[in-house]
């Protein structure tokens, strides 16, 4: 039995009376790729943001690497966040900085920053991994959607996270680019043993990446299984995702 990396228990969140999450339970094991599937607007991003502490849930328990977010001091949350990477839906690259500066930004500001030279080398390495070393001097506006996501992934990797939360990594991308991103996700685990929560409504992405799938529906996540199991589910609304 592998250890739990992220545990969520009975998570509730509503915005101005609008219920979004109504009792969510998750446990992510080490080196596991967990997919969460739900329609758009079902609260997938809210869930990921709660896990990393960007949104404060109304109630519920969240622990990351065995530490409950509630018990932690702000500094400790920041330290913990470093071990958790987050890939934003649109990449969230800093649009006033070029690609190199984007990657250097978090590196330079760590408590014990590396030397200038080491930072440069680290950046090149990270860009090589996502196959975009040639874009090192480009501005985000010059990049396509898929490139932005790959650069954003490089920026996440550079802090050497142990878990990555992917928010719709393939949404809005063409099939070829989707495939590239999916391969990167798989490679992260193969080479670095990174665990992942992948939030998506792209069934192709789910089929290729997921060890286990959870369905988020009306604020709850009662349905769980492998891709094949869920595809043969006896519930119509579950099967609807697979058509």
């Amino acid at each position: 039995m592998k250890e739990d990396i992220i545990v969520v228990k009975d998570l509730y969140k509503s915005f101005k009376g609008k219920k979004v999450l109504e009792g969510i339970n998750i446990n992510l094991k080490k080196e596991e790729n967990l997919c969460i599937i739900g329609k758009s607007g079902s609260g997938k991003s809210v869930l990921l943001r709660s896990i990393i502490g960007l949104i404060e849930p109304d109630s519920g328990y969240i622990s990351v690497f065995g530490k409950s977010l509630d018990d932690l001091h702000e500094n400790e949350v920041i330290a913990l966040r470093k071990k958790v990477g987050y890939l934003f839906q649109e990449g969230a690259l800093y649009d006033s900085m070029n690609v190199e500066e984007n990657l250097a930004f978090p590196l330079k500001r760590q408590p014990h920053p590396k030397s200038h030279k080491e930072i440069k080398a680290t950046i090149r390495l990270a860009l090589q991994r996502v196959g975009l070393l040639s874009s090192i001097n480009k501005m985000p506006q010059e990049l396509s959607g898929g490139m932005k996501k790959r650069i954003a992934l490089a920026r996440t990797l550079i802090l050497e996270p142990e878990v990555i939360l992917y928010d719709e990594p393939t949404t809005g991308l063409d099939p070829v680019t989707s495939k590239e991103i999916i391969e990167l996700i798989l490679e992260m685990r193969a080479t670095n043993g990174i665990s992942a929560i992948i939030v998506t409504h792209d069934m192709y992405c789910a089929r290729l990446t997921a060890d286990r799938i959870l369905l988020l529906n009306e604020g709850k996540m009662d349905v769980e299984g492998s891709f094949e199991e869920l595809k043969r589910s006896d519930k119509d609304w579950v099967r609807a995702f697979f058509e």
Binding site: K16, K18, R49, I52, L54, I78, A79, R81, K82, V84, Y86, F88, Q89, E90, A92, L93, Y94, D95, F105, P106, R109, Q110, R155, L159
Partner: protein, 271 residues
């Protein structure tokens, strides 16, 4: 269909709740937001690169607008004062009147409003779009405090730059006024300067500089505040930029009134 209607109702009630005053709540939130500045400004890292970038961006880039408007105001004021002053044979007093008006009042307020328009909307839109594209969240996730990197630097930059802009703008208004005076009468530069600063005292300058600090602080802080609060979606950014300009302009007028009262009180009681 029914769901659409429900949603519509929901958003409209939300809106009316938001606009229903809540003035004091927003003011409270602004105060809390601003107070973080004083907690964070002292501690490293100081982000000097970003500070200088912002000083350049916010100061230098509003220079053209400040130059034009300040010159024209000085010019036009002198021209328009001329006929009525001449009636009383007091046209010699024009430089002095313009100098007092420009240094004590028009310089700071005009520059403040121009910066609220140009810099305020710029900061509001920039921070707002960073908010809605998750760039601010991305910063805090990577262990960088976005408030420190974005807000502290911009507020400092504006607070430092504003007094210089105000002095510069007052100076240029006097140049404008000198040109106007020379169109109607001949007057040497030294004579103009002597006449302009004839009845000026040290305490005519000090309130302007102090006001300038507060105006600069206000513009940047209010704009960052509204940028930080921008709603998701494209409308959110526009609204943030708009609110930045409107609210910082209002606060500038309010502060100006307060400053006038205070300096009046000071002069009556201590000078």
């Amino acid at each position: 269909m029914k769901k659409d209607k429900e949603q519509l109702e929901e958003t409209t009630t939300e809106k009316s709740e938001k606009s229903n005053g809540n003035f004091f709540r927003t003011l409270g939130e602004l105060t809390v937001f601003s107070s973080r500045f004083f907690a964070l400004v002292w501690s490293p890292p100081y982000e000097l690169d970003e500070l200088f970038t912002q000083i350049f961006r916010l100061g230098y880039k509003s220079l053209f607008l400040v130059t034009t408007t300040a010159f024209i105001i000085g010019f036009v004021m002198s021209l328009q004062l001329y006929p009525s002053m001449k009636t009383f044979g007091a046209e010699d007093l024009i430089p002095n009147m313009v100098a007092i008006a420009v240094i004590r009042e028009i310089g700071p307020v005009l520059t403040g409003l121009i910066c609220a328009g140009k810099t305020g909307s710029g900061i509001g839109a920039e921070i707002g779009s960073m908010k809605v594209t998750d760039q601010i969240d991305a910063m805090s996730i990577s262990g960088v405090d976005p408030y420190k990197y974005l807000v502290v630097t911009r507020v400092l930059a504006m607070t430092i730059t504003m007094p210089f802009l105000v002095i510069y703008s007052a100076g240029l208004s006097l140049v404008g006024s000198y040109v106007a005076v020379n169109i109607t009468d001949d007057m040497s530069v030294t004579m103009y300067i002597n006449s302009a600063f004839d009845y000026m005292y040290f305490y005519d300058f000090v309130p302007s500089i102090i006001k300038a600090f507060f105006f600069g602080f206000t513009i940047a802080m209010v704009s960052c505040f509204y940028g930080y609060r921008a709603d998701y979606g494209t409308v959110g950014v526009g609204k943030a930029a708009n609110a930045s300009v409107v609210i910082s302009s209002l606060i500038i007028f309010f502060l100006d009134m307060l400053a006038a009262q205070l300096s009046h009180y000071y002069q009556n009681n201590f000078v």
